[in-house]
Symmetry: C2
Subunit: 494 residues, 2 copies
């Protein structure tokens, strides 16, 4: 190995590679990461599907074999680019990012950046989550990966944590799209922890998750030859509108730790808790504790720092599903790096990253304007729909978080079948009301529906009017149209 | 089946689901597509990895089995949402998008949209490509899918066209990152068509792709048990800076047609042809022709409309790699739909979609300001680096397209090995010049390097000065530092 020492070691690095023609506001870069810096002495992983044992049997046991390959690509492709960025040639220093102009277009925002996300944004995310999740210690930007939404994060985590056909446990009913998110790219499946509405004791509530049910589901998966790698918790829960208490969370974490399971905590509704009394707690707020079972084991901290991965996004809490912004918080650097490697495919525009940083740092507006108003509206809308349902004598669940009420329409299904549930759903649709039926959440009891109430009052009113129409007509088991449309005037506005 | 007919069939559909709280500028939607509209009478594909034969053996033979599953999720999950959007309740009609305010934030831009991309953007993309690709007939928005960059498009196409471990043919040297793009999620490999610098006849040029070489590579892949599903062509080529003539393109298309191969044409540098004389032609400009071999076969059109998939992005031609915008053009609706289904993971912000539409429609600025200036700068930079290389007596290739020159440094490798190539690369890096070495492009001849010249003059000057330093020192085979740094003044500026 030979090198020519530089006369002037502080001279800037010139890159005959990605740079910009600044006057024109355009950068003519090229993604060199994968190209110009691969070491020949690092062996490429076998791309024929099996993988080089030397690479894939590394000690990063938190990752699947393909997760290790994904991370390998990141590690091995970085040297040149890293060297360039550590000592980059740029006569004009990056201006401060403290301006609050949301529409700023900085040349660097239009160029390839760290696939984990721009540092200025990860710093803001870390501060934001520290504050709103009430973390005992400040969260760190290096544990943050930003990407274009929660769907992508499920896809990436599934792929880097599981081999094809392995599984995550998930309590049902659950937000059904997760099925696709872990399956379409990752070919990972879900092992259901079926919950039901029966209340069995003083301390229980409908659809309550217990460790006993987790253990049963895990045993069943094993007995079917399915390897389970993790547990997905949605908190606040979708579609139940429920939250887990810190004690419940702790029990689930102990269960996961016992079985060496990753825990993915989807907290995408964490700022949409509109009833303060419910006492929502982020998993990031839990004080690190030591398992009583293993008091001397330094590795036995809870939440397990290497196996706890927290998701948040702006789709729900800021009502911006079209903005495409999500973030992962994990202390596991193997996982963070492997997910970042996949962020080539889940990257979000530098312009949006800049705007997001401005939004997240605007704590005054969020605290004094946005959240109070949003919570007040959610509460009013929730109250309206709840009262409508009570007036109709329809049972429902909701604990003051999220955008939805989990509604029990079982009495409208004479035979109590999923076919009837589907027919009822279609009648709502025919009457121009789009609801979500329980089967889409893998609810095991036919007849539950999710009513989203996060809407304007006059729309909710029209929607509930149509709901009443459908349910009023439901007793007439009409196989063929048309029964007369008997609207009850007294039902029109309540 | 029973439905209640509506008194007023033209009444708007209210969705107790995704909507917006408009006053606050926030939408509280939820991705219901996967949830609320799945038909129970459509059987879910088996998520255990194998797939339901009834779904996966459908007649959409252009897709892989997982591609069919991906498309199935899209098809089956759309009914409710489609019904809602066809008759959406919105008292304020969408305002016209004809304003040229780049920074507009329309509420609809912040909500879930068509995963193919907003229609207003796909319309602009179709017009843009029709104009710049010189298509014989106007291109159609329904054949356009937009997403967050070319990397994502390779990932999605590989996954929906190939089973795991199947392959695409690709001529080498090629843009090496494609290896990751088709592999990390899709587990698809590349089968190399090795080209070399030898000129064998009057009509050939270095690294020329011929049908004979394609046939050989295909045979070799088959003999190794590798199933080849398509051919990737990069035009203009990266790293060669070369372009394919219409006649060459036609030959490759006939080859692909003969073997029923998909052809992915990556035209990401199509607007960066700075020498007009080279006569670049997009594959979308080719008149549809009928294969002479099968003159009566209506299905034998070339380019094969069902197997030709064209990529473009703004990363190179508009120098905005950080913006994350790419687009697919394909007439194959199965492929378009399956890719769109994966766009849940490759979506770009509605804000960026709006900005992109404004940019693409600004034909005056693009034609009269941007492209002439960009081409002039590329040409000047290319001329400077070319002359520097000539002065150094270093051979190189470049035909007037792209941002790079393919440089032959073989004479600096005494033994002609890849190890030496790597050492030379590291010496450039140690001297603060980041180049790309040939092995990263799977070039079969050690000693080729890619020099990116799309940079400002003073940076190129400094870079070439350092290149000269490294090459001048190269004759001293110094295993250990430090030889004295003998800068030759006459070499400083040429």
């Amino acid at each position: 190995m030979f090198t020519l020492p530089q006369k002037d070691l502080s001279a800037p690095t010139t890159c005959l590679g990605p740079t910009c023609m600044q006057d024109l506001g355009s950068s003519h870069g090229d993604d060199l990461e994968g190209e110009c810096s691969r070491k020949l002495d690092q062996k490429l992983p076998e791309l024929l599907g099996v993988g080089d044992p030397a690479i894939l049997s590394s000690d990063t046991s938190y990752l699947s074999s393909r997760g290790r390959m994904i991370k390998w690509f990141w590690d091995s492709a970085e040297e040149g680019y890293r060297t360039y960025h550590m000592d980059e040639y740029d006569e004009d220093k990056n201006p401060s990012l403290s301006q609050s102009d949301m529409q700023r277009v900085e040349p660097s925002l239009l160029q390839y950046a760290d696939w984990r996300g721009h540092l200025f944004l990860r710093e803001e995310v870390a501060k934001f989550l520290s504050f709103y999740c009430k973390s005992p210690a400040p969260l760190r930007p290096e544990n943050v990966v930003v990407l274009n939404g929660g769907a992508s994060l499920f896809s990436a985590l599934a792929t880097v944590l599981c081999e094809a056909r392995e599984a995550f446990l998930i309590p049902t009913p659950y937000y059904g799209a997760i099925t696709q998110h872990v399956c379409l790219y990752g070919n990972v499946r879900l092992a259901y922890v079926y919950l039901d509405s029966e209340v069995t004791g003083l301390d229980t509530r409908p659809f309550q998750l217990t460790v006993e049910k987790l253990e049963t589901a895990l045993r069943e998966a094993h007995s079917e030859g399915v390897k389970v790698k993790g547990l997905i918790l949605i908190n606040p829960q979708n579609p139940l509108g429920d939250i887990y208490s810190p004690e419940e969370l702790q029990e689930y974490l102990v269960f996961a730790k016992r079985h060496k399971l990753h825990v993915i905590v989807d907290e995408v509704y964490m700022l949409s808790v509109f009833e303060e009394s419910v006492g929502y707690r982020s998993v990031l707020s839990l004080e690190s504790s030591v398992l009583r079972l293993f008091p001397r084991c330094a590795l036995c901290r809870l939440p397990d720092p290497q196996r706890t991965h927290v998701m948040w996004a702006t789709s729900k809490d800021f009502g911006m599903s079209g903005l495409r912004f999500g973030t992962l918080y994990t202390e596991n650097q193997d996982v963070a790096t492997a997910v970042a490697s996949l962020c080539r495919y889940h990257g979000l525009s530098g312009l949006v990253q800049y705007q997001m940083a401005q939004l997240l740092r605007d704590r005054d507006w969020i605290n004094q304007v946005y959240l109070p108003e949003n919570h007040a509206r959610l509460k009013a809308a929730h109250t309206y729909v709840s009262e409508e349902l009570r007036a109709l004598g329809i049972p429902f669940l909701s604990r003051g978080a999220g955008f939805f009420i989990w509604v029990d329409l079982r009495k409208y299904l004479p035979k109590g079948t999923f076919e009837e549930e589907m027919l009822l759903w279609r009648r709502f649709l025919d009457n121009k009301v789009l609801l979500s039926f329980g089967k889409a959440f893998e609810c095991k009891e036919p007849g539950w529906f999710r009513f989203v109430f996060s809407d304007q009052a006059h729309r909710l009113c029209l929607g509930m009017q149509r709901v009443r129409q459908v349910l009023a007509g439901k007793s007439q088991v009409a196989e063929d149209p048309p029964p007369s449309q008997s609207q009850e005037p007294s039902d029109q506005r309540r």
